[in-house]
Amino acid sequence: MGGTNKSTVEERKKTAWADWGYRLLPVLSILLLILSWHLASSNSPDSFPTIQATWERFLLLWEKPIMRVSYPGHILASLKRVCIALFFSWLIGISFGIIIGWNRKMDAFFGTIFAFIRPIPPIAWIPLITIWFGIDEFPKILIVFIGAVMPVVINTHAGLSSVEQLYLNVGTAFNANRFQMLFEVAIPSALPSIFAGIRTSTSTAWMVVLAAEMLGAKSGVGFLVVRGMDGLDMPLVLVAMITIGVIGALLAAVTNFMERRLCPWMSIR
């Protein structure tokens, strides 16, 4: 009996240490990254800004706006474009994915065109879209939309076209009509797949908006990168890059949170 207690205590201690280890490892990796940055930049501070120079540029950015837009203003400008594009890409992408995933005729009709358009990178649309719509807000949002809508359509289509036959048989046995079969059985069973599309679309949208901004904008985080490059202001480039990373990670956290709220059964498996 005493032996059992002792071994339980030891096991608990082990688990506690393992927990600490798992919490410590991410911190350690960030410290290592900072250390390598420090080592690399101290050898050639002109081409690779030091931590100190980047920090100072970051503080200066809060005091002195670029193109009369503050630092948070640039972030919000990019986020606004992303959010509008994501809203429409989810709305249209999920609806279209459901239509072609559920209806074989629609799939046969649209599938080929979609398979042809899908591999074209959103950036390749920039020249045409610029000629059609100029360099205003709309064309930037449209390019982000093109990038974000593809993964949503692909994943929704995949989810809807591979609903387990057993679930459909249960629907048939309970005499569900086609409408109920779609909304009560097929769509819920495809939700994990739809969410995989939403996650990918969010990260794609964030990458594409920066590329779109680098090609012609007066605000946004992508614009800060270009501005830094044009003025040989490398600390600004690095500040913008770190901002991109942090906001990207935050966006991923938001979609994870949404997924956990909307599909609670997935996190308990």
Binding site: Y167, N169, V170, F174, N175, Q180
Partner: protein
Amino acid sequence: MSTAEHNEVKVQVKNLTKKFGSLHVLDNISFDIKKGEFMCVVGPTGCGKTTFLNMLTKIYEPTGGELRIDGELADPKKHNLACVFQEPSSFPWLTVEENLKFGLKIKKLPEKEIQERVETIIRIMGLEKFRKSYPGQLSVSSEQRVIIGRAFAMQPDLLLMDEPYGQMDIKLRFYLEDEVLRLWREFGTTVVFITHNIEEAVYLSERCLILTNKPAAIKEIVENKLPYPRDIAGEDFITLRKHITEQIKWW
């Protein structure tokens, strides 16, 4: 249940035949199921038991013959059929309570009735503490109870069960067999229970339909008058089990 009610024919199967191209699966099957009866269907593996059941649920249309419920041609829109499949078929995205409500909502019953029926099932099946759980959080036996409960909640004219305990160990099977008998008595449902386990068939059924090898025809319908609860080690039980085993043998 009164004897008069028990003699009333609920389901009438007449000259039922099924062919898939040149494959002849079911051959001219005719029999009646009485109201509130518990009937087991046994037969050699692959003889067409599941095909037979899928025709009752209208997943397949018969090649010939007909199926009548209460004298009318069976129509899932008119009649109330429920089915328990062999594989765990609860919906992982719905809680236990929502799974039990599924069929009732599909049928668009009034909310009050849905709630009442679900509460009854939850109480009888002892699912109170799992009400808000998802199937992924349940043990295999609890999940199967949800599926059986979902079928009984429909208060079906005919409940079809396709080897529902096929993948379970002996302890779980005994437990769920008693559970299904309890629900059958409580609701007076007419049950067709397909199994390849002869002991299970003798334990549960009031009558046992023995099918031949493919193309399946009726070999014999065995009356099982042993009193419930049945003793699987009893002499009469073993005699009946041996008789059915002899009848099934196709080698």
